[in-house]
Amino acid sequence: MAAVLGTLSVNLLMFLRFFYPRALYEPKVKFRIGYPSDFGFGVDTKFQNQYRIWVVRNTEGVFVISAICTHLGCTPDWKASENKFKCPCHGSGYDPEGINFEGPAPRPMDRAHVELDPEGQIVVDLSHVYRWPKGEPSQFNDPGAIIRA
């Protein structure tokens, strides 16, 4: 009896483990996007289709917003005429720096880690993001969240 139950439970664990693949074929999360001087003031959407990011320059420097709505993960649209990001799924709105101001989004959109390689190009790392959860201190001024150039 114990042997049968043991075998069955090991089989169940094997069955569950089977659904967790070891190798993935997903898009790169670390890539180069060019020099800081390539990006003018405001929102640049040219990498949205390729990497699902926006590059933004404000008075402090250049940073990269991960184009994922913090509500349930859709890609918001950049509405240049209204100067805001608007999510088509449930209507969350964000200002040009990705700070939420309307709709169900619980926090501003995450920002990706950015650094300069020896050549001076911006390297984006989407596996390392900076957040500003509601009621908690912002990570947006941490080293690596923005390039002050």
């Binding site: 569950l16 659904f19 967790y20 693949p21 993935l24 074929y25 997903e26 898009p27 349930l72 993960g73 859709c74 088509p88 799924c89």
Partner: protein
């Protein structure tokens, strides 16, 4: 030596008497007489076959084939009618007899039966759609366009499947509403109510997994949103309560197991396809079998309270 064996062989194996090869073997010494005997045998077999055929046509219910398929007599008696239902693999889940009041149409509205009918339609049209659909990122959406524009009756099939799916969800909910309003979840049917709730969940899962398969913007974002909710699962989701403390990340939590990746991609499409076309229909069918069987075991379709005559009412005991 073969000559002496031949008649015996032919006598046993009637079917080979008619063909020419045995005649060829019989040529030689005494071949003429043997040929005549073989032909006579064949004639007799033919006559017997014609006689049997005639009897079969006259009374097919007396043949062994008939009796092996339909094992009971089909007289117009209550007993053989009941046996006809009980001894049939498909009908035996049904009650052999039901309460006359219970078939009053405005009591059940036949909603459970209609749900099952829609399900059968969906299985049929879905199987046909599988002949033209490849669950791969490269061609899935193209196959949908192909089905819509080129495949004979493809648009009809796809729309039957799509509208049928919506209809099944509606029917299940109306059925549940009816069961609730008539109090049919009460003793002794509590177990079947729970089975019904599981079937409702399975119906919604079928609906949800089918949503991703066209691989269009609507389905893609719906599934992105839907599976992102799984991130918030307690303990097992990487954004849920105690998830991070359990060591959950986007690459080992429950959402990862559902999608086969950290994003809705080719693995997720293939998984949705397999859950939608194989796993969930089998699980749902098993629960349906139990559901229908329990209806019968719990005393048939639930009906209005039985009428009681005044003479049947007993005086309550005085303690």
């Amino acid at each position: 030596m073969p000559d002496t064996n031949m008649p015996g062989t032919n006598g046993q194996n009637g079917s080979s008497t008619g063909n020419g090869s045995s005649g060829g073997n019989g040529s030689g010494r005494g071949g003429e007489g043997k040929l005549a005997a073989v032909l006579a045998d064949a004639k007799a077999v033919q006559a017997r076959a014609v006689e049997e055929l005639r009897e079969t046509v006259k009374a097919p219910e007396k043949t062994d084939v008939w009796k092996s398929i339909l094992r009971v007599k089909h007289d117009e008696t209550p007993r053989s009618r009941a046996l006809g239902v009980l001894s049939n693999v498909f009908l035996h889940l049904h009650p052999a007899k039901i309460n006359r009041d219970a078939v009053a149409y405005n009591y059940t509205w036949g909603m459970g039966g209609m749900t099952f009918y829609v399900y059968i339609t969906l299985v049929f049209t879905g199987t046909l759609l599988m002949f033209y659909y490849h669950p791969s990122k490269v061609v899935a959406f193209r196959d949908i366009l192909y089905l819509e524009s080129d495949v004979p009756f493809g648009k009809l099939l796809r729309n039957m499947h799509r509208w049928g799916a919506h209809l099944m969800v509606i029917m299940v909910e109306l059925h549940m509403f009816r069961v609730f309003l008539t109090g049919s979840y009460k003793k002794p049917r509590e177990f079947n109510w729970v089975v019904g709730v599981l079937l409702l969940v399975l119906t919604l899962l079928l609906s949800f997994t089918g949503y991703l398969l066209p691989d269009d913007q609507l389905g893609f974002w719906a599934v992105t949103v839907g599976t992102n909710m799984a991130r918030a699962t307690p303990l097992l989701g990487h954004d849920g309560p105690f998830g991070p403390q359990m060591g959950m990340t986007a690459f080992n939590d429950v959402r990862f197991g559902l999608l086969g990746g950290s994003i809705v991609d080719s693995n997720a499409l293939l998984r949705a396809y397999i859950w939608h076309c194989v796993a969930i229909p089998i699980i749902a069918s098993l629960f349906m079998i139990v559901h229908f069987w329990r209806v019968r075991k719990d005393g048939g379709i639930s009906g209005p309270a039985p009428m009681m005559l005044e003479s049947e009412i007993k005086e309550p005991k005085k303690v």
